[in-house]
């Protein structure tokens, strides 16, 4: 309960102003396509030079928390996920916005973010020593199986057809191979200079999600269909609160998955939202409604991607190992103020660290308040006529993909992937599995190659790799999960194809 005594620091005038500014600024930065939480925090670090360590960290912590949640705004309203964390949010959130329920989607997303986020920070406060050991338990073999577990989700994620889902996933895996391979030094599929560094995930996200819908909107305009505008009814906050209170299942699934996955260095935030979305779909009685504007998936995804924020700092603070790109930038922010993370950081710099953690707790609450305050206005975007909407999304996509690393190459990659995805969608393939393949490919591959090299050194004989990858309780546990997940997808696929009625329901 030591942290309670440091709450005063958060409410000092300058500190609290920074917290407010960081939260509001973070929401805006997060909602801007192409500005990921990592970049937002990196951009703020020079501003902390002039501040005391505590104040600087408050600013960075507030920005980290709120950019992750702010990413939901563009995912829901424009179907441009600001970061990998928001992919699952876009799936149902944007459908809700198209049905005129944008305000409701934003309310639910901010409230579940807040609940997930606060739980995550509480875990950081109470369980850090235990969790640090857990973060270290994942070696290359376990990360490989985790990535494979993610791949098994592909077949059941946002796809009308199991086979097309898998095929889309394979396209994503292939895309992930492009570029210079860091581990073996091979150059793969580099037929243009812009591809030397591989396909940047954020440029790909923007292209794959935003461009097909822009093309769709332009196509509709050509057909002179009466310009459709969506009525955006006001949505009472009370209703949203009651709805979140009733959604215990997706909230629990999201928060638990987000906290666990967030801890694992190197995978964390990227897949937490997608895995939570998929699991809440599997456990939901309304499976068929997922992907049509059903709030359950949104709640699970948003609670997961904010729940991961707290635990992702555990390996950073105790072991000085940043578990995510954003945590790596935060490490820079700590070092520049002479604060060296380590297991004794809570004894050496209690004031700085506890004030930082407390500010993340208060920041979550502020984020929910401001998020809900803007929801009513932001949701009106859906009322914009299609031609204007299409042009705006196109401009934001160009801007977003260029600003990732100031490269025109990324803009061309974004546009080509978007055009390709437009035609793939016409044939019933969907975007989410492609992106999941793109994210998981490198994780699975690099850990497999590293694991194989380590296995060769640890064991002798032809069974070396099998011994390394298939023994140990954590490996076996993960393999069982993989088999269960594949089995589940297969069974539900068979059940679907046997009864034409439910198949038609899934297609509707």
């Amino acid at each position: 309960m030591e942290f309670l005594s440091y709450f005063g620091g958060v409410f000092e005038p300058i500190a609290f102003m920074l917290l407010l500014g960081g939260t509001i600024g973070g929401l805006i930065l997060g909602a801007t396509p192409g500005l990921s939480p990592t970049m937002a925090v990196a951009l703020l670090i020079p501003f902390t030079f002039q501040l005391s360590p505590t104040q600087g960290l408050i600013l960075l912590g507030a920005a980290y928390t709120s950019t992750v949640a702010g990413g939901a705004v563009s995912a829901i309203l424009l179907k441009i996920p600001g970061a990998p964390a928001n992919i699952a949010t876009a799936l149902d959130g944007h459908e809700m916005a198209k049905n005129g329920e944008g305000a409701r989607a934003l309310h639910l997303s901010f409230m579940s973010s807040g609940i997930g986020g606060i739980t995550g920070v509480l875990l950081l406060i109470f369980l850090t020593p235990v969790l640090a050991q857990w973060a270290l338990a994942f070696g290359p073999s376990h990360l490989f199986w985790l990535a494979i577990l993610g791949v098994t989700v592909i077949g059941s994620l946002d796809s009308k057809s199991f086979v097309k889902g898998l095929l889309s996933g394979c396209i994503g895996l292939w895309l992930s191979m492009i570029g210079y391979d860091d581990i073996q030094g091979a150059q793969r599929f580099i037929f243009h200079d812009a591809l030397t560094g591989g396909i940047h995930i954020i440029a790909a996200l923007i292209g794959i999600f935003a461009i097909p819908q822009v093309l769709d909107m332009f196509a509709k305009g050509r057909r002179k269909v009466a310009i459709e505008t969506v009525e955006v009814p006001e949505h009472a906050i009370g209703d949203s609160v009651r709805e979140v209170a009733r959604s215990a299942r997706p909230l629990t699934i999201g928060t638990v998955i987000g906290s666990i996955v967030g801890l694992i260095p190197g995978i964390g935030g990227q897949i937490a939202g997608l895995v939570a979305y998929d699991q809440s779909k599997k456990f939901s009685p309304n499976k068929a409604k997922f992907g049509t504007g059903h709030p359950e998936g949104l709640i699970a995804a948003e609670s997961a991607n904010n729940a991961m924020v707290g635990p992702s700092l555990v390996p950073l603070l105790t072991l000085s190992i940043p578990g995510s790109p954003t945590a790596a930038v935060l490490l820079g922010g700590l070092l520049i103020h002479g604060i060296f993370p380590g297991s004794d950081i809570f004894e050496r710099n209690p004031e700085v660290i506890w004030t930082f953690i407390n500010s993340m707790l208060i920041g979550q609450i502020l984020m929910v308040i401001f998020g809900i305050a803007i929801a009513k206005w932001a949701a009106k975007i859906a009322r914009a006529p299609l031609p204007i909407m299409a042009s705006a999304v196109l401009v934001l996509s160009l801007f977003g993909s260029y600003s990732v690393q100031q490269s025109m190459g990324d803009v061309w990659i974004m546009l080509s992937l978007g055009l390709g995805m437009y035609f793939l969608e016409k044939f019933g393939f969907s975007a989410a599995p492609v992106v999941l393949g793109l994210i998981l490919g490198p994780i699975a591959e690099s850990n497999f190659v590293q694991g194989s090299m380590i296995a060769g050194a640890m064991y002798d004989g032809v069974w070396a790799k099998a011994t390394y990858f298939m023994t140990g309780s954590l490996n076996i546990g993960l393999i069982v999960l993989v088999i269960l997940s594949v089995g589940y997808s297969f069974m539900s696929h068979r059940a679907n194809s046997k009864s034409p009625a439910s198949d038609a329901g899934a297609r509707a």
């Binding site: 072991l319 000085s320 930038v329 490490l331 070092l335 297991s343």
Partner: protein, 323 residues
């Protein structure tokens, strides 16, 4: 509206013309100077580049601010390819270099630059590679580890930040000097991922940055066995160099960071930069921040860097030959 557009057009044309006028040394620099960093925002190179350039705008320095442009990808190759091929050689676009990285990459091929594509300005930092093992490792000295590796070839795994970076060069040098066979495991995700593998016990040991290893050792997570440098380091006075331990390993793997311009930049512009930049790196505010962040400062002038680059080119060509 029309007049407004016209005015806008005129002022744009004027601005373009102003940019097109070739830089002459007298008024250089007359506008902000870009510094391309071949690694992502928040990484060690980016982070240090932001610190060492922060006083550029002072009147007694260059009088114009420097801004950072991140061009990450493929271990730095994307940024340096861009810098060699597309950056204007007018003194308004500098780049951060990492030696031995870019020289080793150019020797291995597949990139559009070599040490001859660039002109060094000055060096700001030097981060030596060190050999680390986990805190529970049976090895307390570098000799114990090397002896074990000699008796058990291919059994000692060493993690590092990637291929043809300082860590990899150090591993190759140790292998060559001792005759023992190690297994070098490059990680994706840089030095932090390589350090995690050591702390978690995924690998037997690792090669890592002195600054990161120093913090990990202070926190009690690793033991540092040796430094791959010519002299002991101030941060680690008790840790021997590999040379002291009897292995012929020099400082070729030390990660030198500094600023450079593309070949073809006017000589008078280079002279202005070479005269001012070392002083900028030694500014009190810069040294204070660098020290607070645990980033070792090592300022070298243009001539010293030219000599260092030439020496690296020679050592690395020999080391990487036939690999």
């Amino acid at each position: 509206m029309k007049t407004m557009l016209k005015t806008l057009g005129l002022s744009l044309a004027a601005a373009t013309m102003a940019l097109a006028i070739p830089a002459s040394a007298e008024d250089y620099p007359s506008r902000p100077i870009g510094v391309a960093v071949s690694y992502g925002a928040g990484g060690a190179t980016d982070f240090q580049a932001r610190i060492v350039t922060m006083v550029a705008g002072n009147e007694d320095m260059l009088g114009q601010p420097m801004y950072i442009l991140n061009k990450p990808g493929a271990g730095g190759r994307v940024g340096w390819n861009w810098f060699a091929e597309e950056a204007e050689a007018d003194g308004y676009m500098l780049s951060a270099y990492n030696v031995p990285h870019f020289i080793a990459q150019s020797i291995k091929g597949g990139v559009k630059y070599s040490a001859d594509s660039f002109e060094p300005i000055a060096n700001w930092g030097a981060d030596p590679a060190v050999v680390v093992v986990g805190k529970d490792s049976p090895y307390d000295t570098i000799e114990e580890m090397v002896d074990f590796a000699k008796e058990n070839p291919g059994k000692v795994t060493l993690s590092g930040a990637g291929l043809f970076v300082g860590h990899h060069i150090a591993a190759l040098q140790i292998q060559k000097a001792t005759g023992a066979k190690f297994v070098y495991i490059p990680t994706k995700g840089g030095g932090a991922a390589a350090m995690k593998a050591v702390i978690a016990g995924d690998v037997v040991g690792g090669i890592n940055n002195l600054s990161d290893a120093f913090r990990a050792a202070e926190a009690g997570n690793v033991k540092i066995l040796a430094v791959a440098d010519l002299e002991r380091n101030d941060f680690l006075p008790d840790v021997p160099t590999l040379k002291e331990a009897g292995y012929d390993v020099d400082n070729a793997s030390v990660n030198f960071r500094g600023l450079m311009v593309p070949k073809g930049t006017p000589q008078d512009v280079i002279d202005v930069l070479a005269a001012k930049v070392p002083g900028m790196f030694e500014h009190a505010r810069v040294t204070k921040r660098m020290k607070a962040g645990g980033s070792p400062l090592h300022v070298m002038n243009r001539e010293e860097v030219q000599a260092m680059w030439a020496k690296r080119q020679e050592t690395l060509s020999e080391l990487l030959e036939g690999l």
